[in-house]
Each structure stands twice: as structure tokens, then as C-alpha cells.
């Protein structure tokens, strides 16, 4: 791995938090990050960037390489990715930015910055097996259309999710 590619930035060799970079790269999915040469093809192919230019996958990759841990994990923009995978499709270096974003979101969630919507969905999966609640009104609606009753249960999902610790993640406080 060639770390000299940061030579043009200030404090390039380690950056503010070298362990952050290592923690990200420990994930198999994130390994290609060092092949990134900041060409910007990912940002050009990102629909969220198209309507919200503040969101830039290219800059995000750069910030991770610089080790800007707090800056990245506290950034609400990492949660705006719409999972389209345009970034990895367009990347000439096969950097898997979508996967890297998930690694970053996992780290941010552990640090207490998860948006309530995702925490809530996980809670529902553990109860109903689905990311949503299921009530009598829905059952009635389905019956009226001659659709079979929904049968999913949450027990198995709950045991597997609990094994990962994701059941303990708390949502960030909304302003």
C-alpha cells in the first residue's frame, strides 16, 4: 500500500487520527480505498450530489484517507446516501464506496449518531420480522383483497441481530 499519495496534503503521513483509517480498512469491503486517486467519477455519478452538491463521495473518501474521524462520523451527510451504487459503478479504480459508506455508518452508529429511522426499523425487525409494524387495519386491508395473512415473526431475526450488538444501538438525539 502506498501512503505517499497523500503527500500534497498537510500532515499527510498520519493525519489527525491514524487509527481511524486502520479501523476502516480492517473491513474487507473497504480495502480498495487506497487505490482512489480523487478523480471524482463517483461524485459525478452520484444522484444525491446532483441535487445536493454538499454531498461528495470523492471528498468523503479523501477525508477518510486523511483520518478525519470526528468530522466524518458526525457528518449527517453520510446518511444521505441512497444506496444506488452509482459511485462504485463509475469508479475506474474499483473502489467500493457504497460499502465503505456502510462501514462508516456502522462506526457512526456505534458512536451514537444513528438516525432514529434506522434504529426504529431494526427494532421492528426484531418484533415482526419486517422493518414495519403490522396492525389489525393492515390485516383487514389484505383480507379485503384476498391476500394471505402475513406470517413473519421476529424471534429468529432478534437472536441473530442481538449476536451482532446492533440491538443495543441507540438513535442520536434529534435537534
Amino acid at each position: 500500500m502506498d501512503r505517499r499519495d497523500n503527500a500534497s496534503s498537510s500532515a499527510p503521513a498520519l493525519g489527525p487520527d491514524a487509527s481511524f483509517r486502520r479501523d476502516v480498512l480492517r473491513h474487507e469491503e473497504a480495502r480498495g480505498l487506497y487505490a482512489c486517486f480523487s478523480c471524482g467519477a463517483c461524485t459525478a455519478g452520484c444522484p444525491i450530489s446532483e441535487v445536493f452538491p454538499e454531498f461528495s463521495p470523492r471528498k468523503l473518501a479523501k477525508r477518510v484517507k486523511l483520518g478525519l474521524k470526528r468530522d466524518v462520523l458526525e457528518d449527517p451527510y453520510i446518511w444521505r446516501c441512497t444506496t444506488c451504487r452509482g459511485c462504485e459503478q463509475h469508479c475506474p479504480q474499483n473502489v467500493r464506496l457504497y460499502d465503505i459508506l456502510n462501514v462508516l455508518k456502522n462506526m457512526a452508529a456505534e458512536a451514537g449518531f444513528a438516525p432514529p429511522a434506522w434504529v426504529e426499523q431494526t427494532r421492528w425487525v426484531m418484533r415482526t420480522g419486517l422493518v414495519y409494524p403490522r396492525d389489525a387495519a393492515l390485516a383487514k386491508k389484505r383480507r379485503a383483497r384476498s391476500l394471505p395473512a402475513l406470517m413473519s415473526r421476529g424471534e429468529q431475526a432478534e437472536r441473530l441481530i442481538a449476536r451482532t450488538g446492533a440491538d443495543k444501538i441507540k438513535a442520536r438525539e434529534e435537534p
Partner: protein
């Protein structure tokens, strides 16, 4: 008779019932048997936000359930199909499979690596094929100019969809629309994402994306948009009201799910079989051009 485990996902059976209705009707009419599995849960797609590991475990659990029944999976949601299929690829690695199976043993399951997962449209395209679909058409829909929206998860990632369509110039949905007798309409914003997966935490950019495509379709005088994903459907159909409130009044764009279009072509009842009455945007224009009087 082809037999599949029907993977409904979370959103379709709770919020997009017309998709489920039309899919079941079309599959029955084409001789595709769908088996409902009580054991299926969320595929893990949204769980990866909090924990990649939790997402993988949920995907593997669902694969193991289908495999135990000896069934391949037919998914209505492209994101579920992609999530599950991508996990089958990852689980080819023996080390990973051993690690995941250690966790699955907690709930009495094991995944051996035999499950195959495809989305409804892909099964229709590959198993039935445009030619046989054309042979089953009973209603003339040639007056309809319809724009295809593939949806990101129907084309990406490469590792899952290599060989099934070209993400830079996709054709399969065009062909499926043509096979149903309607005319696929070319338009500039075809690749644009619906923003649906960011909507729950950040609605603003998503609505801007929806607006962009709708305005393109209005400019092209499309009779409607055809989608193959319940989330795209919720964004383009369900959120049209929000787009109009936020960005100003504009003409309504009818949105159909592909099996609704195919069901119409095959002679299905618009309400009982295909749930067209459950659309947030009135579909009268489509029905008139399909030679059907508007329902009361």
C-alpha cells in the same frame, strides 16, 4: 410448472398491496407457482446501516429457509433480490460460510450454498421471455407511450447482474413493456435514482430527484412511467403530491408497476386482479387508452 418461494420483502405487503396483487395474478396466469414461506423476514438491506454483520446474518437466514424447502427465491423487491443474491456470492467463500453458519446454528439453521435468487422481472424475462409474453396478450395497449424506470437495484452491483442487462444502456424492461404491447418511450433521465433509500432520513434530496424525472416525463408527454420496484413506486406515485406541494402544481404522471401493465395486457381485471384503484395518482388516462372505460 415453475415453483418459487415468493419473497415479498417488507414494503410491498404492508404498503404497496397492488404490487403483490398484480404479481400473484400475473404469475398464476403464466404458470409460475409461488409458495409463501412463513419463515421469511426482512432481507437485511436496511440493517446494514447499523451493522453490516446483522444485514448479512438476516440475508443468510432467509437463504437458508428457502434452501431448506428446496426452493429458489422469486423476489418482488429488486433491493431484496440484490441483497440476497449478493450474499449468496459472498457465501461462496468457505471461511465466511463457516462463520455465518456458526451464527445461524443459534436458530437451528445452516446454509449450504444452493439458493438462487432472482427478481420477478428477471424471471419473467428469462423463464417466460418476451415472445411467450406477447402470445398471452389479450388487450391492445399500443396507444400507450410508457417510460421505463429500471431502478438502481435492478442493475447494480455488477457482481450480481453481470450478463443480465447492461447498467449503462439497459434494455430488458423496454422489451418487457413492448412485449405487453405498449410503446417504450426513450427519455433523458432514465438512469436517475428515485432517492427512496435516503427518504426516511433525508426527504429533501429524494423529492428533488423525483421532481427531476417527473418533469422530464411531463415534457416528453409520456402516458406514464413503468417501474419494477415498490420503493420507486412509492416515490414516483406516492410522493407526487409532496412534489406538487413543494415545487408547484404540475400535470400528474400515472405510474404503473410492470405486472400491472402486463396484467392489463393479459386481460386482468383492473381493480380485483391488479389493484389499479389503489394508485395515489388517478390512472383513468391509462385505462381509456387501454380501451377500458373508467371505473365508477
Amino acid at each position: 410448472m415453475r415453483r418459487y418461494a415468493l419473497y415479498l420483502g417488507c414494503t410491498t405487503p404492508t404498503q404497496v398491496i397492488p404490487y403483490e396483487l398484480a404479481s400473484r395474478w400475473v404469475c398464476r396466469a403464466l404458470g409460475i407457482e409461488l409458495v409463501d414461506l412463513a419463515e421469511f423476514t426482512c432481507c437485511g438491506m436496511n440493517q446494514v446501516n447499523l451493522s453490516l454483520e446483522a444485514g448479512s446474518l438476516l440475508a443468510a437466514m432467509n437463504l437458508a429457509h428457502a434452501e431448506a424447502k428446496g426452493l429458489d427465491i422469486l423476489a418482488l423487491c429488486p433491493a431484496c433480490a440484490g441483497t440476497l443474491a449478493e450474499e449468496t456470492e459472498r457465501l461462496r467463500d468457505e471461511g465466511r460460510r463457516a462463520r455465518i453458519n456458526e451464527a445461524l446454528a443459534l436458530v437451528g439453521l445452516e446454509y449450504k450454498g444452493r439458493a438462487r435468487v432472482r427478481h420477478l422481472s428477471r424471471v419473467l424475462y428469462e423463464d417466460i421471455g418476451p415472445e411467450r409474453i406477447r402470445a398471452g396478450v389479450r388487450r391492445d395497449l399500443s396507444a400507450l407511450r410508457l417510460a421505463p424506470h429500471y431502478g438502481c437495484h435492478s442493475l447494480k452491483p455488477k457482481s450480481v447482474f453481470e450478463g443480465s442487462d447492461d447498467p449503462d444502456d439497459p434494455r430488458t424492461l423496454h422489451e418487457l413493456i413492448a412485449a405487453a404491447g405498449a410503446r417504450p418511450l426513450p427519455y433523458a433521465t432514465l438512469p436517475l435514482c428515485c432517492g427512496g433509500k435516503s427518504f426516511p432520513v433525508s426527504p429533501e434530496p429524494a423529492l428533488s430527484l423525483v421532481r427531476k424525472k417527473l418533469d422530464d416525463l411531463i415534457g416528453r408527454r409520456a402516458d406514464g412511467l413503468v417501474v419494477q420496484c415498490q420503493t420507486c413506486y412509492l416515490m414516483y406515485s406516492g410522493q407526487q403530491k409532496a412534489v406538487r406541494e413543494r415545487f408547484g402544481d404540475r400535470p400528474l404522471v400515472p405510474v404503473l408497476l410492470y405486472p400491472q401493465l402486463l396484467g392489463l395486457a393479459m386481460g386482468g381485471d383492473p381493480v380485483d386482479d391488479l389493484g389499479l384503484d389503489l394508485s395515489a395518482v388517478p390512472l383513468d388516462g391509462i385505462l381509456v387508452k387501454a380501451g377500458l372505460a373508467k371505473w365508477s
